[in-house]
């Protein structure tokens, strides 16, 4: 019961943090392009603005699915982002909650995809097929990289267990074992695709298929989908920062750091990872084609994830 209350209490925090992260991402992206960029709280303005706009449902859309999808997407991705944060604060977790989190995050992408295809727009259909291909490409390496945690004798698929292991060893998981370093690399490589950032924003390529699945969405629905994306980006960065690089574990007097200090350190690490995996690629690369992206994910991250499992089993 307490956990549920804590989860609900974390929702506004996640809402705030994920939009703030998006604002920072946009600002730094702009600065790297020699632009001034929007104010950091621009995503909040956007959210409020979109919520005050009229709701438009195309006549060709299956209106039930079309309207339900953004709400589900926003709810599951905020839940997915809230679970690790709550677990870190309360210091408890249940076995297998990592798998739950990853599926909640994947669920939000699937929901947006379904919403696009239910809109009756041909671009939505193309967006659906492209996103489907991308999900197959990146979800498998991502899941394997997380699953390889469980092959490790000292960690499990419970989120806080992995964090606790790092505190106990006073080291970052990615630096303790070679297999974990490989798993971390895989996870980080998968983040841009999961976040739909250039070079892997193929499913919602603005200049090619006019945002694909999002094409018919506007107003409050678009606000919710944008929130879902921001929350899942935040969750991915936060997971990468705490699962593989739990920086507070490096500090001698871990307890003296306090919960607030530890959380702040985690957020800063998460921000750095988000900048490295989302902002920088989307500034310095051109968009790939679907075939090229698929080939990349099945050549490098999939091989790396297999390698990390194999190394974990061997015990490296």
């Amino acid at each position: 019961m307490n956990t549920i209350v804590a989860l609900l209490a974390t929702f506004p925090i996640v809402f705030f943090l994920s939009l703030l992260f998006e604002g920072i991402d946009r600002k730094i992206h702009a600065r790297m392009q020699k632009r001034i960029g929007p104010p950091i709280i621009q995503p909040f303005y956007d959210f409020i603005k979109l919520f005050n706009k009229e709701r438009i449902i195309p006549v060709t859309a299956a209106s039930g699915i079309f309207t339900a999808v953004p709400i589900i997407a926003a709810a599951v991705s905020i839940l997915g982002a809230a679970i690790p944060v709550v677990n870190l604060i309360t210091g408890t977790s249940i076995v297998g909650d990592l798998i739950l989190v990853l599926y909640l995050l994947a669920m939000s992408s699937v929901m947006v995809m379904i919403g696009g295809s239910s809109s009756g727009n041909p671009y939505g259909a193309i967006g659906f097929s492209r996103k489907m291909t991308m999900i197959i490409a990146y979800e498998i390496p991502m899941l394997i990289s997380i699953a390889s945690l469980s092959f490790n004798p000292c960690s499990s698929l419970a989120y806080y267990d992995v964090v606790a292991t790092q505190i106990r060893m006073k080291s970052l998981l990615a630096f303790t074992r070679f297999s974990m370093a490989v798993a971390a690399a895989t996870f980080l490589l998968c983040i841009p695709a999961a976040a739909d950032a250039v070079p892997f924003d193929i499913s919602e390529a603005k200049t090619e298929i006019i945002h694909g699945s999002l094409i018919e969405y506007g107003g409050p629905y678009l606000a919710l989908i944008k929130l879902a994306k921001a929350a899942s980006n935040f969750a991915l960065a936060f997971l990468a920062a705490t699962l593989f690089f739990y920086v507070p574990a490096l500090f001698e007097g871990y307890v003296s750091l306090g919960l607030g200090g530890a959380l702040c350190l985690c957020l800063v690490t998460a921000l750095i990872f988000m900048l490295l995996t989302i902002t920088v690629p989307r500034t310095i690369f051109a968009r790939l084609k679907i075939g090229q992206a698929f080939k990349f994910y099945w050549l490098i991250p999939l091989t790396l994830s297999m390698l990390s499992v194999a190394l974990s089993i061997v015990g490296l």
């Binding site: 009756g120 193309i126 090619e208 051109a286």
Partner: protein
């Protein structure tokens, strides 16, 4: 909750009937398009099976309008055909008028025309290079190219007083001189632009950019010749043509040996991009030469433009220039009473747009924007011919009065 009608019911029907073939409307409103053009693209999954190109969304009736104006007014009107190559249009038009009237502008005026012409080429090429970057999802390249382009626009402002519509040309010469302190400024700016152009050249060698541009939108040498493709699009397919060299105008007769025509035989979007990048350097060199060899003298005729205009006899001629996008042709027929009997403009985009079909068929959906951008289309320039009535499937010319009436109704 308000609903809106699905725009084109025939498209919706086709989606229902055949699931493997999907007809997607690419335009007239699309984020990759800066101007409205409609491509009806039939696709199977990602592969393009057929393309139907429809023009006519930005018909402005400029040719008809020009016939109701006197020559000087028409000169300013012609400048408004395009916001990117206005100087090409005015040069082409004034050349025709000067030919009919037997007016010979001074050497200095011709050199200054050429100078603005080449600056315009730099600005136009930077613009399209940026847009190609944007179309392949490389926003930073887009921002950078347009940042560099600002320098050129500033130069335009310094020299002519205007950033976009320069209004540099006048019958019998140019309107603004280039004082010595500006020459230094132009030189300094060009050095900066050259440095940035080298950087842009490097960025276009980037692997993700190459992957998106190589083997995309292939237009073979033979196809390019058959379809009369012009400009950098043709030169990217290895067709050696350049009005500046073949039918020199303005100061290009004297500068004939000072520039080379850039040719690439890759025939794909990358080759066309490479031609444009190399032409940046050619233009920069050419401008430096012009600045060094700028002859002395007056820049315009002694008589006023209005007096010159009154003396233009009845006659007709064809004038050609090499606009940044390719061969631009004006057919001008004067009526001997200060006005025009007929003005016909054949813009490079009208020639190049025919090449889109062979370029696109067999490609992927992802290639449409970049293929379109690689011919550097200027739809506003190309839409001055007829109005196509799609409902009644007939082609007719709508007169200016009708257009005006319709304009008032709204």
């Amino acid at each position: 909750m308000r609903m809106y009608m699905a725009n084109e019911s025939d498209d919706a029907k086709e989606v229902k009937v055949d699931y493997t073939r999907l007809r997607i409307p690419f335009g007239p409103v699309h984020p990759a398009l800066k101007e409205p053009i409609s491509l009806r693209v039939t696709v199977r999954k990602e592969e393009i099976l057929d393309v139907d190109i429809r023009l006519g969304h930005v018909h402005r009736g400029i040719e008809a309008l020009a016939e109701n104006r006197n020559l000087v007014q028409a000169l300013y009107l012609v400048e408004r055909i395009c916001g990117i190559c206005p100087h090409s249009h005015t040069t082409c038009f004034t050349q025709a008028i000067e030919e009919i009237g037997g007016i010979k502008p001074s050497e200095r005026a011709l050199y200054l025309r050429t100078l603005i012409f080449e600056l315009e080429r730099i600005h136009s090429h930077l613009l399209i290079l940026g847009l190609i970057g944007y179309d392949i999802g490389f926003e930073t390249l887009f921002m950078f190219c347009w940042h560099v382009r600002e320098d050129v626009l500033d130069l335009f402002e310094e020299i002519t007083g205007n950033r976009v519509h320069h209004a540099m040309n006048t019958i019998g010469g140019v309107r603004w001189d280039l004082p010595p302190h500006l020459i230094e400024k132009v030189n300094a700016s060009l050095k900066k632009i050259e440095k940035s152009a080298k950087y842009i050249n490097n960025v276009f060698q980037d692997k993700t950019v190459e992957e998106r541009l190589c083997e995309v939108g292939v237009l073979s040498y033979n196809e390019a010749q058959e379809l009369c493709i012009v400009g950098p699009t043709a030169r990217g397919s290895g067709v050696s043509m350049d009005v500046r060299r073949d039918y020199p105008y303005a100061a290009y007769k004297e500068l004939k040996d000072r520039f080379s025509v850039v040719l690439r035989d890759g025939a794909d979007a990358y080759a066309r991009t490479a031609v444009r990048i190399s032409e940046l350097f050619e233009s920069i060199n050419l401008i430096c030469t012009i600045l060094d060899e700028l002859p002395n003298g007056s820049i315009s005729m002694e008589e006023s433009v209005l007096k010159l205009m009154r003396e233009i006899p009845e006659g007709e001629t064809v004038s050609m220039v090499e606009a940044p996008r390719g061969e631009l042709l004006h057919f001008v027929k004067t009526n001997g009473k200060e006005g025009l009997r007929r003005l016909k403009v054949r813009t490079p985009t009208l020639a190049n747009i025919l090449g889109l079909k062979p370029m696109l068929i067999g490609g992927e959906i992802a290639d449409i924007p970049v293929t379109l951008a690689s011919i550097d289309p200027c739809i506003g320039c190309a839409n001055r011919i007829t109005v196509v009535d799609e409902d009644q499937e007939e082609v007719r010319v709508i007169g200016l009065e009708t257009l005006r009436r319709r304009g008032r109704k709204r």
